[in-house]
Subunit: 290 residues, 2 copies
C-alpha cells in the first residue's frame, strides 16, 4: 500500500510517498512559486505512483470544515499569491484519490502521536507547537484532531509579560505581543538586531523566551490536560526546553499533577522535521480505514 | 427511569432526582459539614428512591482517572476537613449504583451541551467557565469531557495584565495574578474593599475584569476552536458579557472566524444555576447507555 504526503510550506513543498508502516519510499522538494505552477508539479509527481490517498499538512489559515463552500482552501495567508487558493480542488482535477487536509502543526501533532503509540506510550492526547518563522499549535484529543469551528491557532494567545521585556512591542502584525509576536524567530532581529542562530543560550533573551513558551505549555496543560506537549521548529532545542521546563514548574507551582517533565515537554520524537510526513501518511491511511 | 445528581459545593450539597428528560422530580440541599456527616445524609436521601445511576459534579481538585488508586477522591482542596476524601468510596458503601464523578464545571459544561443539542443547535464542543468565589472551566469536545491526565483547571492560566491594573498583586494563593487571582469574586474586596454586588457595571474595574475574561475566551477559542463558550457564576451577567464580547473582538482582531458573538459568548441557557444538575442527570444516563 502506498500513500502520499504533502507538507505545504512557504518556501517549498515536501512531497513524499510512503507505505503502511509510514516508511518514506520516495520524496522530492518543489519550490513554492505560484499556486498553479507548484500544484501542477505536485500533481505530476504523485501521478507516477499508485497511491491510494494523500495527507496534506499546510501552512494556514486554511478551511478544514467539510461543510464550508471554501473547504480545501488556503484562506487569508500573507503569502503573496496564495490567498484564497482552492488547494484541494486543484489537486482533485489531476489526482482521483481521497485527500485529508489539515494544518502543518496538526500533521506534525498526528505524526508524533502515532509515533508515541508505536513506542508503546499509553497516550490519547498530545499538543504540538512549532516555534519558527511563526508560532502554531495543533492537538490530538482522544486520538482525533482538535477543533469544531476550524483548526487551532495556539500561537496567537496573550501572555503575562516578562518584567525585563515590558518595552518590547512584539512582531505580530495582528496582535503585537501575542505568543508569536514574542517568541517567533524574527523576534531576535527585532529585539537584538541579530539572527537567532547567532544568539547563544547563555544570553538573557532566552530566559525571556522560555518564560513565554512555558506559559504556552501552562495554557495547554490547564485547558487540555494532555499526555504530552511537543515543541518543534527552528527556535526549539533540548537546551532551550530545559529552561522551559524550569519556568513551567515554577509557574504551575504544583497546582495539577503532570507527567515527568522531561517526558511531558519534549522535542519531536521523529527527527529531521519528519513529524508531518509521518502524520500525513497516518492521516491518509486512517481515512481509508474509516 | 430515575437518576440522581449531586452538586458538591463548599457550603452545600444540592441533591436531586430526575427522569430521562432531565426533569427534576425531587431535590434537597444538605449543608456541607464534615465528610462523614454530609455523605451519610446524601446516601440516606438517595436511598429513598429507585435510582439507576448518579452523576456527581464536585468542587476540585478531584481524581477522575479511573486507573488511579485515588479515583473518586477529593484530593487537595483548601476546604477544611475535605482534603483526601474518598467521596465515591464512601457513597458506594450505601448506594449500589453506577456513579459518574467529575468537576462542577464539567457537569455544568455537559448540561449546557445537552441543552444546546435539545435546542437543535448543531454543536459538538462547548467550554463552560464559572466566575465566582473561584474560577474554573470545563469543556466538551466531540461530545466527551476533555482531559487525559486529569480535569482542566482553566482558572489558573496567566494573562496579559491590563495597563491600569499593573499594581494589583492578585488573590490566588498558588499563582497570585492568574485568571482566578484577577477576576474571582474576592478580587473586588481586594481591589476596592467592597463586595462585588455593590460595584455597579459603570465602574472602571469592570473593564479591567472584562479584559481578562476576554483573554480566557481568546485562549479557549484559539486552543480549542469550540462552538460555544458559556460563562456562569456569581460575577457573570449579560451586561458584563457585553463588555467581554467587545474586548474579545478587539483582542482577536478578526484572526479566526468565530460564530456570531452573542451566540458564541453566552450566559448559561439553563437558568438558576441548574446546568450542573442537568449535566449530572445526562452523564448518569449516558453512562448507563454505554
Amino acid at each position: 500500500m502506498l500513500v502520499g504526503s504533502i507538507e505545504v510550506g512557504g518556501t517549498k513543498f515536501v512531497c513524499a510517498v510512503g507505505n503502511e508502516n509510514y516508511q518514506v519510499k520516495d520524496q522530492i522538494q518543489i519550490p513554492t512559486t505560484t499556486p498553479s505552477e507548484t500544484l501542477q508539479k505536485t500533481a505530476e509527481y504523485f501521478a507516477q505512483f499508485e497511491i491510494e490517498a494523500i495527507g496534506i499538512a499546510s501552512f494556514g489559515p486554511i478551511e478544514i470544515r467539510k461543510n464550508s463552500p471554501k473547504y480545501g482552501y488556503i484562506t487569508k495567508t500573507p503569502k503573496a499569491g496564495w490567498e484564497n487558493t482552492n488547494f484541494i480542488g486543484y489537486l482533485k482535477k489531476y489526482l482521483n484519490v481521497p485527500m485529508f487536509f489539515t494544518t502543518d502543526v496538526n500533521g506534525s501533532a498526528y505524526g508524533e502521536y502515532v509515533m508515541s503509540l508505536l513506542s508503546n506510550e499509553k497516550i490519547d492526547s498530545l499538543v504540538y507547537y512549532t516555534i519558527g518563522t511563526g508560532v502554531g499549535g495543533g492537538a490530538i484529543v482522544d486520538g482525533n484532531l482538535l477543533g469544531s469551528t476550524g483548526h487551532p491557532e495556539m500561537g496567537h494567545v496573550l501572555l503575562k509579560r516578562h518584567p525585563d521585556d515590558l518595552d518590547f512591542a512584539g512582531v505580530c502584525p495582528f496582535h503585537n505581543d501575542c505568543l508569536e509576536g514574542l517568541v517567533s524567530g524574527p523576534t531576535f532581529e527585532a529585539r537584538l538586531n541579530r539572527a537567532g542562530k547567532d544568539v547563544p543560550l547563555s544570553e538573557p533573551v532566552w530566559d525571556i523566551m522560555s518564560y513565554y513558551v512555558a506559559q504556552a505549555a501552562i495554557q495547554a496543560t490547564l485547558i487540555l490536560r494532555p499526555n504530552k506537549i511537543v515543541f518543534g521548529g527552528g527556535v526549539t532545542s533540548e537546551e532551550f526546553l530545559r529552561k522551559v521546563r524550569r519556568d513551567f514548574a515554577k509557574l504551575l507551582n504544583g497546582y495539577v499533577e503532570v507527567p515527568q517533565l522531561d517526558k511531558y515537554i519534549t522535542m519531536p520524537e521523529i527527527k529531521n522535521n519528519g513529524s508531518a510526513t509521518v502524520g500525513d501518511f497516518a492521516l491518509a491511511i486512517d481515512m481509508l480505514k474509516r
